[in-house]
Symmetry: C2
Subunit: 157 residues, 2 copies
């Protein structure tokens, strides 16, 4: 039995059943003919970034932890870096081109920040309009955003 196999089964099991303890997980593994001690499972759980969390009704269960522990600004800058193709300013507006299907996602992140430089956004599949209070502020925003776009994206300044 390979470690990776076992971990794949663990992932499936914790998604399928509300498993509350390592002993319980051990039993479920046994039912699939995988033998492992609690100690091994403890290490798997740590490696796989699985955490125990109370679900809706007081019960705790293991779930796979995803990184939602970044702050909003980090998320913005990461997204700018990852999905923005170009940013152009026209007067008091910025027009952002994104990779397909990332327009609304990025706009939601921008909205979330409630920046004073942003009066409103309008987003589609791969384009976002950002309206600023005036052209000066729009330029500031443009400069800020541009500085976080990946160099190898096709950026028009």
């Amino acid at each position: 039995m390979k470690k990776s196999e076992r971990q794949a089964v663990i992932e499936r099991l914790i998604m399928e059943y509300p498993i509350a303890t390592q002993e319980e997980l051990m039993a479920k593994l046994k039912a699939e003919d995988i033998t492992a001690t609690q100690a091994t499972i403890s290490r798997d759980i740590r490696e796989m970034q699985i955490v125990k969390t109370p679900d809706d009704h007081g019960q705790t269960r293991y779930v796979i932890f995803k990184e939602t522990n970044k702050n909003e600004q980090e998320r913005l800058f990461e997204s700018l870096h990852d999905v923005v193709i170009s940013i152009d300013r026209v007067e008091f507006m910025n027009i952002i081109h994104t990779l397909p299907s990332n327009g609304n996602l990025l706009a939601a992140i921008i909205d979330d920040l409630h920046l004073p430089e942003v009066s409103g956004t309008l987003a589609g599949h791969d384009t976002i309009f950002i309206i600023s209070p005036n052209a000066t502020v729009a330029k500031q925003l443009h400069d800020l955003f541009i500085s976080h776009v990946a160099d190898d994206n096709d950026v028009a300044d």
Copy 2:
């Protein structure tokens, strides 16, 4: 000392320091003149949905857990329920009105699902246009969405 006060301090502390055990947290609380036993802290942690997770370098620490453990469809239905004010259909389009600042968020969720009924979305602060391939499909989508909107929201059918 109110429970809510203590929990607010706990939240601040776990964000500020990499706290690995409840004893450690107890000590930090003590330093802020808040006395509580490990039992109490255990209960706080459960209530606040704080989890222990390994961070970048093997160390574990407590962090606040956010629900990323819902599937996309659950997220959609929850959002429809929580933020939608009205949904109207005009020919092959649906127009959704949301609570302020939720337009792009909800649109991002809808985009994520890549529904065949959705050719594209266009979202702003509190409004979303959803374009469907034809009026029939748009009506199906409308019916589906409507059924998940909270009854006490001001729904126009």
